[in-house]
């Protein structure tokens, strides 16, 4: 690596490093003055290693990611299916428009009481809320993606005499893949946020709950460790989706 390249690589890290250093200094000073509310990043790192070694980190991370993924799968399958129907049929879109517009703005977290009554504490409640939260963006984005398919391609399918099923699988679905991936990336972000929120608010499982427990047992170091870790997990998941999107786009013949 040339010296220039090295500095270029270093540049994005400067600001976080300064921030962490400032926080370290501030938190140390606060605890020296007798405050229990904050812990310096060095203590958080120690707590993080402890959680990683005793396995609680992986167990909670696995729970949150697994539930978010399963909920997203549920919401995405339903959202994509209904989005296709609403996008292809003007009559269906008119029929569904009012219901969609009324239900879509309901904050998914507002469903926690209802989901708790229906499913009790546990995985099923969290799944239901994640599915609900991811269903809407996928529905709306897939519907608009279908409506924006090049009309010429649909004419080609008519002239060639493709059946409705062939048209769906050979024209419509491949045509919306790039937009579908944008929708899925959004869905992944929503799923993670909602899963952690539900764990903080209600479900005694996963990363959100672990962070709450740390806070309630006056362990700010562990709490900060979880907070940082959740950020890292979110970053990694999004980066993975971006990579997947690029690979798929290339396979679909879309040149960057």
């Amino acid at each position: 690596m040339t010296e220039r390249g090295f500095f270029r690589w270093l540049r994005p890290w400067i600001f976080p490093a300064v921030l962490v250093a400032a926080f370290e200094w501030y938190a140390r000073r606060a605890s020296a003055l007798g405050s229990d509310a904050l812990a310096p990043p060095s203590a958080a790192a120690k707590a993080f290693i402890g959680a990683a070694l005793d396995g609680s980190l992986w167990q909670a991370t696995g729970f949150t990611l697994g539930t978010a993924a399963l909920g997203l799968l549920l919401g995405a399958v339903l959202g994509i299916a209904l989005g296709l129907v609403l996008g292809l049929s003007r009559r269906a879109a008119q029929l569904g428009s009012l219901s969609v517009e009324v239900l879509r703005p309901v904050p998914s977290v507002a469903l926690i009481p209802l989901a708790m009554l229906t499913f009790g504490f546990g995985v099923r409640m969290e799944l239901a809320i994640v599915a609900f939260a991811t269903f809407w963006p996928l529905l709306v984005l897939v519907q608009s993606a279908v409506q924006q398919i090049e009309p010429r391609l649909l004419e080609v399918s008519r002239v060639l005499g493709l059946s409705a099923r062939e048209r769906a699988f050979k024209i419509v679905l491949p045509a919306i893949v790039p937009r579908l991936f944008v929708a899925l990336r959004l869905g992944v972000a929503v799923a993670l946020v909602v899963a952690v929120t539900v764990e903080i608010a209600a479900n005694p499982n996963g990363m959100g709950y672990a962070m709450m427990i740390a806070q309630q047992s006056f362990d700010p170091a562990l709490m900060l460790a979880w907070l940082g870790w959740i950020g890292v997990v979110g970053f990694a998941v999004n980066a993975g989706m971006l990579l997947l999107q690029r690979v798929v786009a290339r396979r679909m013949g879309v040149q960057p």
């Binding site: 010429r152 391609l153 004419e155 008519r158 493709l162 893949v177 679909m252 013949g253």
Partner: protein
């Protein structure tokens, strides 16, 4: 009616879209194996006429009959070459895959597709580009790919909507000659819309001129000219042929008149 008139017959075809008369009642016949070019100023309804003939739009009055049967829906025996080749090809399929789509639609078993794809790609000179995606091809090659897909349909009638309008002059000339050769070899009947009068005379057995806004009660069809220049034609001698020059003068004079 003679036997030729039974092949493709336009009987008072008129089309209104959004309250505007795009095409006023137009009647003419096309014989099997004939190459008919349709010219006219923009807005005269030539593309709409083609779309009606392929069943993509329904006539508001009159009807199009093919082999004596009224056309209401697109049929696999009628291929359609769109002007905007870039939008008519599936960007996520290779040239081969795009041609294959026509065969898949027709229910050709997978084992029989490869030789037929190779055959039509060879005919349009894309044999070496089967694995390329549309974005990797020039405009002329993309249009060849679309023509190959239409040939794979094994149509008896091919509709071409200004297929070479967006191409540069040299590419256009070579595609004209290849199309003329393909049509001679396959015996296809072609309806070819163009705004280029010289192209129409060069390619057609007959040129049909439409006029825009003919006025109430009058047909869009304004002129029908038989082109008796011998085939095979070529870019140099045909364009010096006395009949070519005379028809060219006649058509240009007519179109200019139409604008006054």
């Amino acid at each position: 009616m003679n036997a030729a008139a039974d092949f493709l017959h336009f009987d008072g075809v008129a089309i209104r879209l959004g309250g505007r008369e795009i095409l006023s009642p137009t009647s003419f016949d096309v014989a099997r194996g004939e190459f008919v070019c349709i010219v006219g100023p923009s807005g005269c309804g030539k593309t709409t006429l083609l779309r009606a003939a392929s069943g993509l739009v329904t006539a508001s009055a009159g009807e199009v009959r093919r082999n004596g049967v009224k056309m209401t829906e697109p049929s696999r025996e009628v291929a359609f070459v769109f002007q905007d080749y870039g939008r008519a090809l599936l960007p996520w399929r290779t040239v081969e895959g795009n041609v294959s789509l026509a065969l898949e639609a027709a229910g050709v078993p997978a084992s029989e597709r490869a030789p037929r794809i190779a055959d039509v790609l060879g005919k349009v000179g894309l044999g070496k580009h089967a694995q390329k995606f549309p974005v990797q091809l020039s405009g002329g090659m993309q249009q060849r790919a679309q023509i190959a897909r239409c040939l794979a349909q094994k149509p008896e009638l091919m509709m071409m909507d200004e297929p070479f309008g967006a191409l540069d002059a040299l590419t256009r000339q070579s595609l004209q000659d290849e199309l003329a050769r393909l049509v001679r070899e396959t015996g296809l009947t072609v309806l070819f819309v163009t705004h280029d009068l010289e192209e129409a005379i060069y390619l057609g057995d007959r040129v049909i001129a439409l006029q825009a806004n003919p006025g109430p009660g009058r047909p869009s069809l304004a002129r029908m000219i038989d082109v008796k220049i011998p085939r095979p034609r070529d870019q140099l001698t045909t364009k010096e042929h006395p009949e070519y020059l005379q028809l060219r003068r006649e058509l240009f004079a007519f179109i200019e008149q139409g604008h006054d």
